[in-house]
């Protein structure tokens, strides 16, 4: 049985920029533990001769040639942004300090 501590979950939520209430923290901690336990079951089954898998497909070496293809129209791109200035995306203050 894996154990997700409230501290670990708070840290994860912070990294993911999620604001969670205490009730949500408790709920997700329980859910995450169930997920981790399920993953642990796979570990029980997998023998040493099975390599860890990161992809569902068995493909390797899928590449493209180094060829330029058209980019998007800038006006269209910037029209999707909440704010723009001088043909750039405008984003809120990054550092919260003076």
């Amino acid at each position: 049985m894996s154990k997700i501590t409230p501290e670990a979950l708070k840290h994860l939520a912070k990294l993911a920029r999620l604001e969670l209430t205490e009730a949500e923290l408790a709920m997700y901690a329980t859910q995450l533990e169930i997920i981790l336990d399920s993953v642990d079951k796979i570990r029980e089954v997998a023998a040493g001769d099975v390599k860890p898998m990161s992809h569902a497909v068995g493909l390797t070496n899928v590449f493209r040639e180094d060829v330029i293809r058209p980019s998007l129209d800038r006006a269209e791109v910037l029209s999707q942004a909440p704010a723009t200035e001088a043909n750039r995306f405008r984003v809120p203050r990054i550092l919260n300090e003076d």
Partner: protein
Amino acid sequence: MKILEAMEKFDPIIGLETHVELSTNSKMFCGCSTEFGAEPNTQVCPTCLGLPGSLPVPNKTAIESTFRIGLALNCQITEFSRFSRKNYFYPDMPKDFQTSQYDEPFCVNGYLDVLVPTDEGDKTFRVEIERVHLEEDTGKLTHSGGVTGRIHGADYSLVDYNRAGIALVEIVTKPVLGTGKYAGIVARAYVTELRDLLRSLAVSDVRMEEGSLRCDVNLSLHPKGASEWGKRTETKNVNSLRSVEKAVNSEIERQADVLTEGGKVTQETRHFHEDSGTSSSGRSKEEAEDYRYFPEPDLVPVIATSAWVNELKTDLPQAPSVERKRLAQEWGFSDEEMRDVVSMGATDLIAQTVAAGATAQAARKWWLGELARKATEAEKDLSSLGIEPKHISELEQLVVEGKLTDKLARQVLDGLINKEGTPSEIVQKRNLVVMSDDSSLLPAIRAAIEANPEVVAKVKTGKLQALGPILGAVMKETQGKADAGKVRSLVLKELAVEG
């Protein structure tokens, strides 16, 4: 504390992380152009903007360039590797993660030897390479409001994603020990050698001033003889060869001061300031970075088959050190002359000047003489002066033809630095024409003779070496435009002395 004093008490350990933008035509995972200097946000598409539903496909040339860099750095090529997501929230990446490599980089365990002049003669230092991996570059932020465009105190920021997604190779050294007071010189020599190597591989423009080659310097100090290493800092933003040396030395001096005063070095990121040659504290690293790397699900693993790697290996150019030996011989430079050329980062500049028609000695004279002085004055690298080698060849030709004196040639160099055109155009614009006809020179010559009767007396007794003050006065009067040989013969003629 000055560096030599600091090195009596402490030993430095340096580490260098170098980022190299590859010169592929298209970006790493999409077909957008990588051309430098385009209008903001004109080289973007759903993939590099991280729009929903877009899928990345790796650029084969970029992967091969990374393998070639690894091979040239004597690395092992990893047989099975994957891309990973490096998760972080920062507006320079619209996807909120950077596609990078984590525990399976393309190349590991290499080295690069660098030659450094020491008190005991030239010495080779082996800089070991930890890893070479492939990732994508980030967008470019411009900070608005606040002071001087810094992120601190900015009200908001503007983002141009043209650079986001350009193939970026990171080359990380292992900790380099035993450099002592040569730490800065070794660091600079390493980056210089790496730049020459990357250029010979033709994988990158390696222009530090345009950011296609960027360097972070890690440094720690520990008391001499101590087995435990000190806390290290990482200085970012080191964007010229000379700054690499400066950043190491100034950080050694700073840490030595902190330690000597009984303080502790904080493990942190520092930002280097090109203008002052010093660094300032950035974000603290106490809160360990937590990027939650995981294998990139949208990109399948890369298998470096031995056939593929061998094919790339046979295609590698000669190592710069071998190529330099050949050039030194071809150019007739001594080992010492060649070493200075290399450490000034002038090998390619001289090669291009020679290719444009100048002799090797003339090319060396200009680049390591007057131009090196100009670069030092401007606190820039030679290659950042923005002077085209073919113009130096043209300038030399004008001097050889007698159309320019050395003094006038130096004024042409100023014109070249100010981007006033080709040497011939600058000669026209600045009216830098050599005066060699009698009628324009004689008034100045007669005035100089009149003003220096004692010199005239000496010369008339046959002491031709005493002519100096008269020649100098004529040169001054003509603002250096007079043809020195012609002046000499005219002066002798006026004095009726046999030359």
